[in-house]
Amino acid sequence: MTDVAKKTDTVTLTIDGIEVTAEKGELVIRVAERMGIAIPRFCDHPLLAPAGACRQCLVEVEGQRKPVASCTQTVADGMIVRTQLTSEVADKAQHGIMEFLLANHPLDCPTCDKGGECPLQNQAMSNGRTESRFHEHKREYEKPIHISSQVLLDRERCILCQRCTRFSEEIAGDKFIDLMDRSSGEQINVYRDDFFGGTGFGDGQVGEGEGDVAFNSYFSGNTIQICPVGALTGEQYRFRARPFDLVSTPTACEHCASGCSMRADHRRGKVLRRLAGDDAAVNEEWNCDKGRWGFRYATANDRIMNPLIRDKRTGELREASWSEALVTAAEGLKAAKAAGGVGVLTGGRLTVEDAYAYAKFARVALGTNDIDFRARPLSAEEADFLASSVAGGISDVTYDDVENAPAAVIVGLEPEEESPILFLRLRKAANKRKLQVTAVAPYLSRGFTKIGAALVVTAPGEEAKILAEDAAVAAALGAPGALLIVGERLASSPGALSAVAALAARTGARLAWVPRRAGDRGAVDAGCLPNLLPGGRPVTDAAARAELAPAWGVEPGVLPGTPGRDTDGIIAAAAAGELGGLLVGGVDPGDLADPRLAEQALDNAGFVVSLEIRGSAVTRRADVVLPVAPAQEKSGTFMDWEGRLRSFPTVLPTTAMTDGRVLEAIAALLEVTLGTGDVMTIRRELGAMPPSTASRPAAPTVTAGALPTRGATEAVLATWHHLIDSGSLLDGDDVLKGTARPSLVRIGKDLAESLGVAEGDAVTVSTDRGGVTLPAAITDLPPQVVWLPTNSPGSSVRRSLGVTSGAVVRLSAGAAGPILAEPPGSGSAALQAENRTKGANS
């Protein structure tokens, strides 16, 4: 670390009679900790700036008149420190402070969630008096107040250590809670509406950035975790268990590609809470609220427990035994393979091991390269970009590199919404180091503002041009160690990824591709792409295929050598009846570029096998549904955006099987030995694979498109996902969804004027497919650009509008008119199917 390297001067001091050498500027409490001397503390946190708020860490320093707080005192040469272990004075001071802290702390430990794991309880036992001399009435406040739908604040219990407020300000940048009032009335609180006359959060209409709102932060759960008393508690875990009931398992987060390490606590077969794990290289000690609280989907009522097959007689799905279902699936896939082939759609939620199983199954058992993990808008250019610049560990930027980079240009990514831990690291680097962030985006979002980004105003579709021509961007990337961070959304901007590769090559900047889902990067490396085999080997390269064939125990000629169809190609072919069947693992058609076409494809495909956790728009249309394990019931590995492996063990051992095991069973019936039955076997196989010697394909060179022309009330659509949205992995977590950002349509001043709408008025965004009506937020956007959240309540862009980022949409003031044009050629059957899924998905 550069930090350590710079500060070479050391000092020598004595703590409890032991001489010790420390870095200059180190805190006494840390040095003592290194020596194994535990000084009691509350406000001190290694990742927060020293505050000296609680005074529990008092020690005696020779030459000082009074005991000093060891968490704010830096070491000095020749300093003589005596802690409570060797000094009466320090010990008495600590006992006194504890008595003060407890003077107002209620004795409600039996009802408090922190009981049993409470630093205050523990240190009151180890460093407190047995009896208090305070017999006065304790300070009283209203018992817990909701400061967001998820976070509760019990001010009586608070010891004013300010860990929560310091976290919110220093780390997350969401200053929504603060110290208020003075003297004995001093308290932590939010800027509540009754003080500030704002709208408050009760009505769900939280504005952005105003001071009168609830604890509106994606990182609020961390304050609960670091509160050293039970003043901050979470609605979801409230009263559910005691620490001694819980079995803790270290795990990894299955939501996004940030790759947080986590801890899952379960009791009697049910996960009750998840906490941020401690991993200095990745998430430090933080995580986001989605990862912390979004896990109930695995126990939702629509969980599929037994295989289902479509009954020949009734045409309905019915429960079946595993053997019957597997045989039906294998026979169906065999027939489908003969009748046009099978397309494989895997989604981005698989572990590396499961993705590898699909990749191998497609090539070996189905003999096709028609496999794609991208359940979102995509392009062939993107597949080429992934092959040339990401797959096989080419992109190796790490969190550490982000922290130490002088400059970063971010394109097609809103870090706070799409990769929250990357956002925290960017913020740390921008605040504490020298990172300069340049955002190539349509507007300066709240996240970009918090990392002090400079905006290069870019309408969706213009990215390629900006990257190729903008001088500021090129200059920023000129600095050694500069990073070019691109999001998966660039796939829907023609030429942008080509421009990214060219720009990186031109400036020497290091390139990082940050997808949204936890399984995306792993799927690239596992070969879930039509143009790539595992390890980034191009399918067209005969030498690469020859490398793989012996590892897979097949003749080199068996592996297909022509690139397959991508997701869009598979959907189109299936809809046109060209494909014999589909094998779908964990894909929500609503995420695809055209959900209606995807559902048509599922309806038209001769035979559909679905591997799913819960009922979905795919399982409803499938011929065979095979239940698989959610992340908590299996072990595996996710690969985060850095390419770092995040292995996790099984949290809850159940009978649920991994995708790999189910695929192996099907393969066995097709007389293929897949060898993906258990995770360790796959890991061994992956580990034993020879490093690829295949030459890397060249980066794509797609020419940039021009911005489409728009009429007076037309605009180009910009859209990305909110972190907490209507995704099916958040089903059942209603208190968490209560902290989602409001669905708004963002329009610029120009459009607001021409539509005659003011802030908060209803605006309808429509296409031939349908419309979305939301309150307007007037934002500094480029002319004739409109922004919508991709999949938030009231705004499912792909399903309602059938378009994605970069498309031209119509705008009108007020709610939608009664009739929206019916798309040409949509038969009534397709419409009915659409309605069915709509109802089920809403």
């Binding site: 039996p110 009263f239 559910r240 268990a241 001694f244 009931d245 049910k270 019931e633 809850l652």
Partner: protein, 216 residues
């Protein structure tokens, strides 16, 4: 010789005992009364208005050396109130196949909710029935009490319940012997259907139940 007198001697003992005081008990017709502090079946007491004293804090479960107690806390709401204050026990079970009647749980209980009765007739013919739930453990409603959920009747806040609670400690009167064990033959299984779920009955998520592990 010796044999003859020997057998008279033997019968002599028998006859002598026929006129001594009987020391066997006439169980089950007149069950003996144990010492007043005998550790018998537990009772979950009520406040004078019928609200439960148990706050679901799990301290009893924590104290239990035999891991016989299972508690799950729940949120009291204004519409559904089982105890004064924020928290109540939504599930409360004592497994009498495990309990060793040491009484550590009742010492741990901060609200004097949990006490022990003198009842010792706890034999059942299945393990399932040895798991007593709130239904079996809660003290019966005395006159003036009301079956929860209901609002707090003794005052505005939970304080009105706790201040002075020690001078009004028990509402366990009548709970010394469970009503259904009066004859000593009934057991919980005699009321099919209305028995609450216990650890062994299948709940959602229990399909893959594992042995309960604890971290201490």
């Amino acid at each position: 010789m010796g044999t003859f007198t020997g057998s008279f001697k033997g019968f002599g003992v028998t006859f002598a005992h026929m006129f001594r005081k009987v020391i066997t008990t006439d169980y089950p017709f007149s069950p003996p009364k144990p010492a007043p502090r005998y550790h018998g079946r537990h009772i979950l007491n009520r406040h004078p208005d019928g609200l439960e004293k148990c706050i679901g804090c799990e301290l009893c479960a924590w104290a239990c050396p035999a891991d016989a107690i299972y508690v799950e806390g729940g949120d009291n709401t204004d519409e559904q109130r089982f105890s004064p204050g924020e928290r109540y026990a939504s599930i409360y079970q004592i497994n009498y196949a495990r309990c060793i009647f040491c009484g550590l749980c009742i010492e741990a209980c901060p609200t004097r909710s949990l006490t022990m009765s003198n009842e010792y007739e706890l034999a059942r013919d299945s393990r399932q029935d040895l798991i007593f739930t709130k239904k079996e453990l809660l003290a019966p409603l005395l006159p003036g009490m009301e079956q929860p959920p209901h609002p707090m009747r003794l005052g505005e806040t939970d304080k009105d319940y706790y201040i002075g609670a020690l001078t009004n400690p028990g509402t366990s009167k009548g709970a010394e012997r469970a009503p259904w064990s009066e004859s000593g033959t009934h057991d919980a299984a005699d009321q099919p259907g209305d028995r609450p779920e216990t650890a062994g009955t299948s709940r959602r998520g229990d399909a893959h139940d594992q042995p309960k592990e604890t971290v201490r």
